[in-house]
Symmetry: C3
Subunit: 251 residues, 3 copies
Amino acid sequence: MITLASDFGSPYPAAMKGVVCRRSDARIEDVAHDLPRQDVRAAAFWLTQTLPYFPPAVHCAVVDPGVGTDRSALVVRAGDHALVGPDNGVLLPAARELADEVEVFRWAYEDPESSTFHGRDVFAPAAATVHNHGVAGLDELPRTARTDSFVDLWFPDPTVNRDGARGEVLVVDDFGNAITNVSGEELAAHTDETVTVNGRRAPVRRAYAGVEAGEPVVTVGSHGNVELAVNRGRGDDAFDVSPGDAVELRW
Amino acid sequence: MITLASDFGSPYPAAMKGVVCRRSDARIEDVAHDLPRQDVRAAAFWLTQTLPYFPPAVHCAVVDPGVGTDRSALVVRAGDHALVGPDNGVLLPAARELADEVEVFRWAYEDPESSTFHGRDVFAPAAATVHNHGVAGLDELPRTARTDSFVDLWFPDPTVNRDGARGEVLVVDDFGNAITNVSGEELAAHTDETVTVNGRRAPVRRAYAGVEAGEPVVTVGSHGNVELAVNRGRGDDAFDVSPGDAVELRW
Amino acid sequence: MITLASDFGSPYPAAMKGVVCRRSDARIEDVAHDLPRQDVRAAAFWLTQTLPYFPPAVHCAVVDPGVGTDRSALVVRAGDHALVGPDNGVLLPAARELADEVEVFRWAYEDPESSTFHGRDVFAPAAATVHNHGVAGLDELPRTARTDSFVDLWFPDPTVNRDGARGEVLVVDDFGNAITNVSGEELAAHTDETVTVNGRRAPVRRAYAGVEAGEPVVTVGSHGNVELAVNRGRGDDAFDVSPGDAVELRW
């Protein structure tokens, strides 16, 4: 199986699918092609939320503001999975979710057909080759070279004490839920209590529907992190936060 | 085959796909993941317009404002098809399109990984299990219990007489076509005539292109219902209607 | 394999998928269902950018402002590929990319279930039939009749001389890149120089990232044509152009 993720919108991903289908009989499943545009950190986050649910596969993930520059292409091995994409950190957080140890390979490529669409010209062919050859034999491919030098990406750690936590908004999802980097475990002792978020009071509930429609709620999202939400509304608006904003929780 | 429908936008459905792929080798086809958000009636309508075209399959459909509350999970058997989703009525109208008799089963689940994403944690695993076990043997699964107590959903009936019909707008599609609950058969005798819609006159035509671009037209849509449209434009704007609004047709 | 492309948005394409799955066990891959609405020329362009990357397949492409009128349905054979869609020119440019010689067949159909959704009622069934029968045997099908009389579509040719080129914007992609009909080969001699575009100066670079974020850039896109772009921004805004607008390049 080959999964495809990108910020290419439509219809560019179809060319990637065609390239994969020409070179491999792998089943293709789309992860998303509307990842936040050229936002490597957000893309890395969403890959951590989706790829670990798949069976062993080759995951081709392309959010690549540096396309056409001399940034490298990488293949990352994570257990039975491989991730293929640009060397800008986008692959690493999900790889670490998939396996305790990850190995990073540089993928050599020359003269792609275009300098603007390496998803089609570099990464899709690489994914098909890795799939056909097998993740176990990645070292033997003529284009791979193991490396310790690559762009890494870590999400920031929150600070937590007995009175609360200070973190930040990692991403806002399509529903308007503001997903923070604070672990939901910190909130577990405060379910059904009221906390303050950046100075404003809000109830902690297990489900969005734990408050009336239109009311703000602090909950633990499907990612296991503290999430600022509104039942049937947008949490980012109600809490006035955007990705990267600081979040001060006090209980 | 397992079909997936939801209002989850992107990229959450990818986690559902991963869960299905891990537990089953079923082919997956997406119905839609941008169903009108948390709008159970609109979702139920769109399922009636899409699921009956599929061969026998397990249809996992999740529009679920009550996620995380104590609402049940259902599996509905409709002939060779099964529908899996929350107990809020969303599955029933499509099930009745698929078969004359439907059987409803409660699906027991405990302690999902999250209280906000049962699409991933409850319904996708249930769909994979039902698929693997086969729709015919649904009764034998340890998690199923037949029930007569569930939330049902019926679309309202229009009133029709010799002078016209009074109904309502069920949904507005992406094109801006306002789809009513009035059967197109009522309109058949008036093709190429002019009718009034909420007091304004509009031509009845078999095709959008039966009027000039930008002109309003009353037609019978692909669902067999009366539709308020504009050739190459938006019918909801031209007729000033939204889902739920009354529609008075006079011929 | 059957590919599907349309401007139907969501969820109508699911009915097409269902119809195909009922009639064929072909693998289905989506090209796009958000092609610019009822814009035959833009759709034709995007098909040229995507279909040639696929292995031999039946490509069902429906952008069809004339649905329900007496316009014909076509099947176009292009080498090992077949294209199925309305007789409005949308299929021809991609067919010519797929093969040096193309053969056009009229596809006879009667009484579709609807007069507004031939994607479901005419073209999806036709694609399944062509797939099952095989592209080679297209002549033998009872519904096909070879024809020389069909609506064709050609993209306009630019005029090029030693001082520059005069062309037009064919389409604007999701990123805001304005894609012209001027071949990138004309620009090759001017890489890293500055040119004027409709009187305003802009640098020519091989990659978007060849200029600072927010800066305009003239480049050669993945289609091989001159593209007006902004690094991490929208070229159509910066160069103030829309599809169909004239573009005067001077070097």
